[in-house]
Point group: C2
C-alpha cells in the first residue's frame, strides 16, 4: 500500500555505477563481466539484500528454476503427496511452488496455463481430470482420473487394493457389505469398484446394488448415504469406502447413531492418510505409499526438466493395513470358509 520501494535491479545498478544489464549478468552468473565489477556489484547486492522478482524474471527469461505442484486443494491426500514431492526435490537446485487453484472443473488446465512457462519450469499434477495439456513444460500426473494417458503417470494398484480389502471383510465373515464408491468417471474410483466387485464375485457373494452408491469422494454425500443405509432393517455389517475421507465420515455417522465400530459395523477405507490412524477408532485401510508417490513423481519431473526421458507409467503397490475398525460381524457364526 505505501510505496515501500522494493529494491530492484535498477537500484543496484545505480548504486554500483553500472548498467542493469551488467547486474543481471552478475545475478545469473553469466559470462562477460570482469572479476572486479562482479565483486563490486555482488557487494551492493548483499548490502541492499536484493532478491530478483520472480514474475519479471520468468516473464522474460526461459527458465525460473522453480517447479510446481498443482493441486485442487490442500486436503490430507494432497498434503502427503506434497511432503513426498518436497523431499524428492530437495537439493535439486529447484524451488517448489504449490498451487491450489480453486475447485471448479478444469482447475488443472487453468493452473497450468497461468503458471507454466513463465513461473515454473515443470509441474506435477495431482489427480487431474482433464489432461490434454499442450503447455511447453514437462508435466507428470499423479493418480490422474482417466488413467495413464499421454502424460507420464504415477499411480497405485487400485484394483488390487480394493480386492484385498474386500477379501479381508469376506474372510471376517461379512456378507452384507456396502460400498461407498468414488465417481464412475474417475479411473481410481472405477478400478476400486472393479476390485470390490471382482472379490465379491470370486467369493460367490451377490451384491445388493442398493448398498453400492457413489459419493464423489464428498464426505457429506458419504455421511448421508451411510445414515440411510445404516437405518435399514437389514443394515450392512460392513462398509468399504473408496477413500479414507469418506470412510471417516461414515465412521462419524455410525458412532453418532450409537453403533459400535467394529462391533456393529466394520469399516475399511482407502489411502491411509495420517488422519486414518488418529480416528476415534483407528481405521483399517488400504495403504497407498503417498509420500513415495510424490517423491517418485518429482524425481520423474526432475529428469524431464533436465532433458532426460522417464518411465511412462509407474505403479506402486498397495497394502492392506489392518487396524481396529474391522472385526467379524456380531450376530453371525464364524466365517464359513
Amino acid at each position: 500500500m505505501e510505496p515501500v520501494a522494493r529494491v530492484k535491479l535498477a537500484d543496484v545498478a545505480r548504486i554500483a555505477g553500472v548498467s542493469v544489464a551488467t547486474v543481471s549478468k552478475v545475478v545469473n552468473g553469466r559470462y562477460g563481466v570482469s572479476k572486479d565489477t562482479m565483486a563490486r556489484v555482488q557487494g551492493v547486492i548483499d548490502d541492499l539484500g536484493y532478491a530478483g522478482n520472480l514474475s519479471a524474471a520468468g516473464l522474460r527469461g526461459q527458465r525460473t528454476n522453480v517447479l510446481g505442484i498443482l493441486v485442487g486443494g490442500f486436503e490430507p491426500f494432497a498434503a502427503e503427496l506434497l511432503k513426498g514431492a518436497w523431499t524428492g526435490a530437495e537439493n535439486s537446485g529447484y524451488e517448489l511452488l504449490a498451487h491450489s487453484g480453486g475447485h471448479g472443473h478444469g482447475w488443472e488446465r487453468r493452473s497450468l496455463a497461468r503458471l507454466a512457462g513463465t513461473l515454473i519450469d515443470g509441474a506435477v499434477l495431482v489427480t487431474p481430470t482433464v489432461l490434454n495439456t499442450a503447455t511447453g513444460v514437462p508435466v507428470v500426473a499423479i493418480d490422474p482420473h482417466y488413467g495413464p494417458s499421454s502424460l507420464p503417470t504415477v499411480d497405485s494398484d487400485n484394483f488390487g487394493g480394493a480386492y484385498t480389502a474386500t477379501e479381508h471383510l469376506l474372510d471376517l465373515g461379512h456378507r452384507r457389505i456396502a460400498f461407498l464408491g468414488g465417481r464412475h468417471d474417475l479411473d481410481s474410483g472405477r478400478r476400486r469398484e472393479e476390485g470390490f466387485r471382482a472379490a465379491m464375485k470370486a467369493a460367490g457373494v451377490p451384491i445388493d446394488e442398493d448398498l453400492a452408491v457413489e459419493t464423489s469422494y464428498e464426505p457429506d454425500l458419504a455421511a448421508h448415504a451411510t445414515e440411510s443405509m445404516l437405518s435399514l432393517p437389514d443394515r450392512p455389517t460392513a462398509i468399504f469406502a473408496a477413500n479414507d475421507t469418506t470412510a471417516l465420515a461414515a465412521m462419524d455417522v455410525a458412532l453418532d447413531m450409537g453403533l459400535s465400530v467394529p462391533g456393529d459395523v466394520s469399516i475399511v477405507g482407502f489411502d491411509d492418510i495420517p488422519e486414518a490412524v488418529a480416528a476415534p477408532v483407528p481405521l483399517t485401510t488400504v495403504r497407498q505409499p503417498l509420500q513415495a508417490m510424490g517423491a517418485e513423481a518429482m524425481s520423474m519431473l526432475l529428469t524431464m526438466v533436465r532433458g532426460g526421458t522417464c518411465e511412462q507409467h509407474v505403479r506402486m503397490d498397495t497394502t492392506l493395513t489392518v487396524r481396529d475398525s474391522t472385526a467379524p460381524p456380531a450376530s453371525t457364526a464364524p466365517p464359513a470358509s
Copy 2:
C-alpha cells in the same frame, strides 16, 4: 521446449476482432464493455481455453488475488499449518500459493522479496527467523522465532505446554528427566525450556545439566544425544523433547537399543503432528492446534488484505495429549506425592 504457442491475450483479441485492452477488461470484469462484445469475447475465451498469465498480470497490475504461505520446507509441521491455511482461505476469492524457498538463512526475506507485490497480495510466514520485512504487502507470522514482533503473530502457549508436560512426567514419578531442547535463540524453543525448568523447580527436582541438550530440532542431533544419554550408567527414565520430530527420533534410538518405551524410558514430544500417533509407540505429546493456527493466520491475513486491521497477537492453547509413550518409571516406588 517446442513452440506450443500458449494462447495469449493477443490471440483472443485477434480472433474476437477486438483490441487486447478490451479482452483484458472482459477478463477482469472491468466496466466499459458492451454486453454484445463482452459475450463474444467471452465465447472466444472459452473456446480457446484462455487463462491469463499470472506473472504478466502481477507484474503490471496491482493485485493478483493470490495469497502466499511461505515455508522453509514441507515437513509435517508446515504441512499441517498449510491444511489449516487452505481451509481458512476457501471461498475467500483468493488462490493459494505455497512456496518453499530453500533452507539457507534468510529464506523468508528472499521468498517474500521474490513474490510479494507482483505474485501475491499478502503472505503467511511460517516460523520466520528474520522479520524486518518492509514489503508493501500485509504479512502474518506463525510461530516466529523471536516472538511476537512488529508483525501480527499467531503462536501457542509454549511455556504452559512444556510446564504441563513436565508435570505429567513428575506426577508419574520420574525424577531423572532429560530435555532435548530446540535452539536457544528461537522463541518457541526458549519458552519450552523455561516451562520445563519452571516445572522442575516447582517440584523441587534438580536438573542434571548433562541431560539438557540442544538439538536445533534436528532429528540427527537428537538421535545422537539420546544414544549417549541412554548409554549412561544412570540413564534418564524419561525424555522430554521440544518437538515431535526429535521425540520420534529419540524413540527410534531407544527402541533400536532394545529398550522398551515406556517401560524403560518414557518419551514426551511437542506439536502433535500426525506422525506422533502413528509412531511405533503412540507418542504422548503437547498438542498445538496446528490446523487452527494456520486457519487463524489466514483469516487475519484476509482481513488485512481487505483493508481491515487485525489482532496483533493471537495465542492458542496447548493441551497435553497422553498416549502410550509415558508410564511410571520401572524400578521406582509409586509417586511420592
